[in-house]
């Protein structure tokens, strides 16, 4: 009996985040607003790219990239992902990363730099994770090695 009760409690515990996951997936612009809409996202991406290109682990990967273009494309992408009224007109993710030999460690390093930037911009931890949850599945197109 005790076993059954604990199992039930645990299953309830598992379903809870599932519900939260579903709620997060509902398209609305709450996250877009939490990031300060397009001007806030542009400031965040400015800070992010500035840190990225000097990062000792992955900075060298952006040598051939024009920082201004990257900032613009990332701003559109995050704006769109967070539920904002933007269009992404950059390269498709898969084609754009195919030849770069990016590892999971590189991808995680980029996530860490983004976390540092979001901290610097004072974005709450929960909003940070909501954005990361939207962006993380891109690892399938980005990690090639």
């Amino acid at each position: 009996m005790k076993k059954t009760l604990t199992l039930l409690a645990f299953i309830a515990g598992c379903l809870l985040p599932g519900t939260v996951l579903a709620q997060d997936a509902i398209a609305n612009d709450a996250l877009y607003k939490a990031f300060g809409e397009k001007p806030g996202i542009a400031l965040l991406m400015d800070d992010f790219v500035n840190r990225l290109i000097v990062d000792p682990r992955i900075g060298h990967m952006f040598k051939k990239t024009k920082p201004a273009n990257l900032k613009e494309q990332l701003t559109d992408q995050v704006c769109l992902a967070s539920g904002g009224p933007c269009k992404y007109e950059g390269n498709p993710m898969k084609a754009g990363h195919a030849d770069l030999g990016i590892t999971k460690a590189d991808f995680n390093a980029l996530v860490e730099v983004l976390q540092v930037s979001m901290d610097a911009r004072g974005i709450p931890f929960r909003a940070q994770n909501q954005l990361l949850a939207l962006l993380a599945p891109m690892h399938r197109d980005i990690i090639t090695k």
């Binding site: 604990t6 995680n108 990361l132 949850a133 993380a136 599945p137």
Partner: protein, 318 residues
Amino acid sequence: MDIYLTPMKQKILNSAIAASLALAAGVAKADTGKLLLTGGVSTIEGAAGGGLTPWAVIGSNATDGELGASVHLTRAGTQDYALTGYGVAVGLYNRAEMSLARQDFDASPATALNGIAAFGVTPGQHIRMDVLGLKVRVAGDAVLNSDSLMPQVAVGLQYKTVDPGSIGSVLKFLGASTYGTDFYVSATKLFLAPGILVNATLRSTSANQNGLLGFGSKAPGRGSRGWQPEFSLAWLLSKNLAIGTEYRFKPNNLEALGASSGLGDALREDDWRDIFIAWAPNKNASLTVAWVDLGRVIPGITGGRKQTGWYLSGQFAF
């Protein structure tokens, strides 16, 4: 499985631990790339996971294509017992994990067993156990597949040998073996948006109190292995701070044997649970503090008390 493995010699384990530490030192300078706390902390049995339950994550900071290692030191104390543990885990390419852990269990109350029969248990007796662990990730990514409910899944085994010292006569009387192997499958999922980690593990084991009181029992106790579920639930409060709880079902192999000898529930074994806080001040270090409830542990010699107390574990990972 057990019948094919002879009990491993202390010396072999010692040199294996020394070799692993050397490897850990060797990779310490490498720049490995797991996200903070996503390698779990060290369980008392050495595998990466929560404190009491292994997770499907591969220990150390190493992710795909990398080698890493972690070392841990753990101390736990309850009303009547205390446990010191230390060990090392090596992570291979985020695919496989090898771990070695040694536990030193202060079983001082066991001298009371001399009142039941002439067991010759010496005062201040400690029970030592070594755990050799192997874990392989078979599917999934617990962290990055945030658009899917698919967890990370791993299978593992833990080969345990116990040196009970003068308590050996008691284990012999109980018909409990001094070595055994646990097999388990774990599924771990981080719900990234809400920051909630869920783990479920199913373990096939015949261990009494995790193996510290041997494996199995003679009739009418239970001598065979059985499946035991284990659960962990953790909530990330910030990048480097998590709180959580665990529940580990355990076999109760010995109680029936005790009851048939007129000892009532003296040999009863209960489930384990804990509530923990894990803090990672940087990528290489984590500290876990927990309140543990181990239930009754040979209540016949501890006045029937439940064993609750604190748990402190430090880990360095590379």
